[in-house]
Amino acid sequence: MSIDLAQFHQVFFEESFEGLDAMETGLLDLDTGDVESEEINTIFRAAHSIKGGAGTFGFMEVSNFTHVMETLLDEMRDGRRQVTQPTVDVLLDSVDFLREMLTAIQDDEEIDKERMAQCQDALNQELNGDVSSAADATTEQTEIETTQKTDQPKGWQIVFCPHESLMQSGNDPVRILRELEMLGDLTVEVDYQGLPSLYDMDPEACYLSWDLRLEGDVSREDIDDIFAWVEDDCDMAIRPIGEQAPAVENIIADDVVHNDAPDLQLVRDNIQSASAPQAPAENTKPAKKESASSKEKKANTGSSSIRVDTDKIDTLINMVGELVITQSMLSLLGDNFEVDKVDQLKTGLVQLERHTRELQESVMNIRMLPISFVFSRFPRLVHDLSSKLGKQIELKLSGEHTEVDKTVIELLSDPLVHLVRNSLDHGVEMPDVRVAAGKPAMGTVHLNAFHRGGNIVIEISDDGKGLDAEMLRGKAIEKGLIDETTNLTEKQCFELIFMAGFSTAAELSDISGRGVGMDVVRRNIQSLGGSIEIRSELGKGSTIAIHLPLTLAILDGQSIAVGDETYIVPLVSIIESVNLTPDMINRVIGKGETFRLREEYLPIVRMHEIFGIGSAKATSLTEGLVVVVEGQGNRCGLFVDDLLGQQQVVIKSLEANYRRAEGVSGATILGDGSVALILDIPGLLRLSNQHQPGMVVNN
């Protein structure tokens, strides 16, 4: 029987990482007040599972390391150990290391032995204040194996007197005899003296006892192993053959009867018939085989998977069923169609439309994950940072079940971490400052997610010192980011922090301000098709709200016409559309055309030239329309023939189907079956910059 254990590794890793997350969450909850035993139980269980799995699948380092954690947790669970902050911190650190260790194994990398020793020492110190016991834990198993290997006699004399209740535990004396027989030459003598009269007999009780003689080169441990499960359910004595047993004899109830040949034969026959087919299979089994083949197949790593609620899949299957019914109804109708069936056809089409829409929604739903996937890392972050900063901060989470597209979740993580760090570092004040300001010493940071319209909104708010509009303005002037004369509303002042090269912290700490500024955060959010805004009140706190589209697979677009072609402009990039008059247009030699929009001069991108469309209706700037768009902080005017309408479009990847094209982010299929390209505004701007210098001015 060879079984490749490697096939279970992936599952083991996945569940171990989940277990570690659960441990982390549990540990963080522990220090906030009274200790619930169920909390510790959950943590313990996670550690226990990891240890068991790691041992089984051959990751001994992980198993041994977790063993120490488990012991510590076991003591906490039994109330033998107080839950203290240092213990929790050591355990948290161990969780971190365990995660590193598992990642390393998964990626086939070396485990950091030094770090392992460090963590193990820290754990042992917690456990018993003694570093040396690190070795104890690891050698425990081998110790058991090497117990007493003394001289082995030629055989054993065993007296086995089961208690009446032995069979109540699912054990069976015959099974034990059968096993003994496999070890060597077994002589069985039964003692049925304890057997009551038929009238008094309980058919479920065991009344027999046995005197066994096992000849052969058998170790004591092997015999002990066989009796291990029943040692408390029987009286027994084991002694080497030929050795007189002085003390054990009195354990056994009465004299053993030796001369009941027929019965003895019966029992023996039973035993033999029961074990006969078993023996060969057992004997031919090689001791260790599974390790050979396990090397061949590497565990498949890196494939991204998504965990979907069964309900969602059920809904989907349901929907497909409905769709199939509608389809068959329509095809039936089409088989012999007559004009008077038009109404039926219409009803069918309405149903088809409804089912298609529902199906679309359900499929989209599969990609949706609760935002708790991102939120769950923050308790730890806040816990670690606040102790590092010497601040008292409570983190509140709400709306964790709000669902967001998986891709959005993945890309949202880093910006959110940055914003939360900022809140902790710059927002919430030191406890003494807070008390002096009449606020509770404990600051609050609140992460909230909710749906609004077709968007998801994530708010990070704190009750810290808030933003000082005047100070921000002063700073921006000092840094030369804005002109001294610029008039800004309070809101505009707040927005200054999103400008590149702006940092409000007097000195850069290692917590926030690692070179990634708020400008990067904003760019990341914008690349997800979202926006970010700040509300703040000096002395009361600030709130940063992120608005994101629910999914990246569908986009709100504005379709525009250029000649015979239709393009889609993402609605979020559009600022406004204008009709140009001749006095608005300027030409700069070598730099192309610009137009004046209020006080600003914006470059004009002629769509028909960029994409080389000969059929364009409007070639003179005053004939068509200019759509003012913004991409990554740059604005320009797209010169198009006409605006068609707004619609939701499903994005199809151009790269997957064709190749990457500058200025185009994807494509979609319109209602009439034709293909429309979706414009990528920043790309289009780059493209037009390359295009412009050699361009012929033709107006």
């Binding site: 269980r45 068991g52 041992g55 535990s169 479920e204 408390d232 057992e282 089994k285 599974e290």
Partner: protein, 120 residues
């Protein structure tokens, strides 16, 4: 062929146990915790129960105790998967009516050997 109920909250262990036993020709029913196991054991009487000890909702020892109380499971062998550190767990298990135990970590061969031992 004999049917076996494999109970473990850890998916990897459960899969490993189940895969090994199925490979040896047994019918295997999987359960994720004691509550699940009790339901499944009542729905279909099995010939052997192999259960983990530490599980949410209902642990292995309580499961064994509950099952042992059912007439259909009075003599059914029940094995618990336990770690070497679980000396008193073994005792608790025995007291609850467990037939025996398999010490973790174990490999598929050890598991099969023990299962064959009790199922014959």
């Amino acid at each position: 062929m004999a049917s076996i109920l494999a109970v473990d909250d850890s998916a990897s262990m459960r899969q490993m146990v189940s895969f090994t036993l199925k490979g040896a020709g047994y019918d295997v029913i999987e359960a994720v915790d004691g509550v699940d196991a009790l339901n499944k054991a009542q729905a279909k009487t099995v010939d052997l129960v192999v259960t983990d000890v530490n599980m949410p909702n209902k642990d292995g020892i309580t499961l064994i105790k509950d099952l042992r109380g059912l007439p259909a499971y009075k003599f059914t062998p029940m094995l618990m998967l336990t770690t070497e550190a679980g000396g008193d767990k073994k005792q608790q298990g025995k007291a609850a009516g467990a037939t025996g135990w398999i010490v973790k970590p174990f490999n598929p061969d050890q598991l099969l050997k023990t299962v064959k031992k009790v199922l014959g």
